[in-house]
Amino acid sequence: MRRRLETTAWFMAPFAVILAAWAFVLPLFEVNPRLFPQLSQVIEAARETLADGTLIQHVGASLVRVAVGTTLAIVLAVPLGIAMGVSPVISTFISPLLRFFSVLAGIAWIPIATLWFGYGFGAITFIIFNAVFFIVTYNTLLGVSTIPMPVRNAALSLGAGPLVMLTEVLLPGALPNIVTGIRTGLGFAWRGLIAAEMIATNVGLGYMLFVARDFYRTEVIVLGMVVIGVLWLLIDRLVLAPLERATIERWGMVQRA
Amino acid sequence: MKGLTLRHLSKTYFDPYSGTRVDAIHDVSLQVEAGEFVSVVGPSGCGKTTILNMIAGFLPHSGGDILVGGKPVKGPGPDRGVVFQSFALFPWKTVLDNVAFGPKMRGVARAEREKIAREYLAIAGLSEAAGRYPSELSGGMQQRVGVVRALANDPDVLLMDEPFASVDAQTRMTLQEELTRIWAEKRNTVLFITHDVGEAVFLADRVVVLTKGRVLDEIKVGLPRPRKWDDANKDPEFQRLSAQVLEKVRAA
């Protein structure tokens, strides 16, 4: 417990120094607020946007898009990846295709997505979907094909039907790869989201930043950047890292079995 | 060639988290003459590695003096060559470049240092392996490289911490014989650490028995050189000395 507090304190210490410098040293210099805001201005901007509800609105819009796009992608990608991964023939044939599309994941789809779906929710969700879908499909397929043939044969000879095979062997076996895929894909999706929101919508964190730029409201831009950073750290620490830890431990079990 | 002197050496480990102290070395005095081969033998945990690491300069000592050729040591340096139990070869360098590393650090030109390295590799019968990477060699061959790498730097004192503990028994005997042969040629000052009584007696001019951070006894070994295991096994003097050392170690 003491150790933990100590680690947290050490983690926070540099930020405390930076904030202190921002609050007390920066005001000594005549910095043009159109170039860089004072801490007080950022706090004021936070208060304001929280009070009128716009910050919540932007954050909410971004998170909903990520959630919808990611969920949709995972729900489709995992079964597809498993189905294709079961057959070595299909999986070797198809993986260059999937790699090609994972390589394009996210941002490169912005122009075509906005053309197909128009500006707004559809295009952005499509971009997120895309970023996650191909990478997760590819990783699932990879995960299934790394399950040793003897393990699969053993399950079959123990009388495992297709459903048992799926839930007891294929899915757990591919899980570490699936999680890695989700982590990478989400990283690309998050960046794609911010980029897409800058050009293709009228609500969301990216939009908030980009509009603020038009009016040289640096305090809003910096606020937005901090919010984006904190949100991603939270997603990474509270969702992705535990997921990865759980499955890697699981993977250890699979290895020993 | 220089001698090694330990005077009232002591070491206290301090664990900052639990706040406890461990007195690993109490009061060790030892004189290794120039060109002498001394083995230090003792049970696991008696402080052998601690002593060697302090001499090598990897660990600060808590009290006493460590002198090489009469001068106190400060940090690790090329005057004290070290052979490690885990070999510690550089995986990204070929065998030749590993052996040439010491001369390179001294600023010896490439052609010259490769010549030196090849000479030493030849002594250990490793000429064939010069262009290979350590991961491509067996454990026994890796440790030959480890020994030769330390020697090629021409150290005043050679420090060896259970260097043959992680190779198989047959290879170990070969390596021990080779070490006595090479040492007979170069006559370095050697401090050799081991928990294997037979090994200690076979290699050394003098065996120091260590227990719980103190020197228990010293036994002179006057066996003729070069030594061979076939002769030693038949030699009653070797057996008498081994039994004597073993008794001390077990009494510890």
């Binding site: 210490a13 394009l104 941002i107 122009p111 730029r213 950073g229 904190v230 | 650090m105």
Partner: protein, 268 residues
């Protein structure tokens, strides 16, 4: 059925001899399907051009010199950004990996800066530096930097301390230890970091070209989008895909594999 297996067998033998066939072949049916869908005009032609249209546009833009110019712009930007990213990232990673104080002071900040992400920097960069090369270079350096630093730190810490001791007792000074032991020991991780960093950096470049660019493949695509020219968007995407595929699987991945394997760092 037997015929199918025979054809498959022949295909596998062919790919064993010519690995690039295995990479290219799967795209044949995809392009075929694409051509069919376009031919049947399931979607309006302005939204969904045929492969032939894209090919013609490729020839046309190459002929006019626009495509080679833009491609060069993008690749040069990426290369410059990556070079800076490494030049800053590797020393920083070594420092943080070897020094406790540097670690405590910088590591949390690095994690946070990485979380903000490159693209969120674009608006304020535009205010600071305007639309142009500085902004784009900054974004790419920023993206490449963090994976390189984080992986270098990991790599530095994975070097067994006994190797540094061995070097020191052979006469190596502080800098020699860094140069001869720490850097080579960390190299496989550094390359992994570079590979990840370029993966992100390349996307950041596209985004930057789309949002603030005046040339480059990303700009080509977004310009085409403004003009409603789906053909050129398709072309841009295909070029991006091929380019990165080649760089990643034919250059970076093999380097990553061979450094680690030859030294026995990966298998053991």
């Amino acid at each position: 059925m037997i015929l199918v297996w025979k054809i498959w067998g022949a295909y596998v033998r062919l790919t064993a001899r010519f690995p690039s066939v295995a990479t290219l072949m799967p795209f044949v049916p995809v392009v075929g399907l694409w051509a069919l869908v376009a031919h049947l005009e399931l979607f309006p032609k302005v939204f969904f051009p045929s492969p032939l249209d894209v090919w013609r546009s490729f020839i046309d833009l190459t002929w006019k010199g626009i495509l080679p110019d833009y491609l060069q712009d993008s690749v040069v930007r990426l290369a410059v950004g990556a070079a800076w990213g490494m030049a800053l990232g590797i020393p920083l990673g070594v420092l943080i990996g070897m020094n406790r104080i540097a670690y405590r002071a910088l590591w949390p900040v690095l994690l946070f800066l990485q979380a903000i992400g490159d693209i969120a920097w674009l608006p304020i960069l535009v205010i600071w530096f305007g639309y142009g090369l500085v902004t784009m270079t900054f974004v790419i350096v920023y993206t490449v930097l963090f994976p390189v630093v984080l992986n270098t730190v990991l790599g530095v810490r994975s070097v067994p301390p006994v190797l540094a001791r061995a070097a020191q007792s052979l006469g190596a000074g502080r800098w020699s230890v860094v140069w001869e032991v720490i850097l080579p020991g960390a190299l496989p991780n550094i390359i992994t970091g570079l590979r990840n960093g370029l993966g992100y950096g390349w996307r950041a470049l596209i985004a930057a070209e789309i949002i603030v660019g005046t040339s480059g493949i990303g700009f080509l695509m977004f310009d085409a989008r403004r003009a409603g020219s789906v053909v050129e968007i398709f072309l841009g995407m295909i070029i991006l895909g091929i380019l990165w595929y080649i760089v990643d699987s034919w250059v970076l991945a093999p380097i990553e594999r061979t450094t680690g394997q030859r030294w026995g760092l990966v298998t053991r």
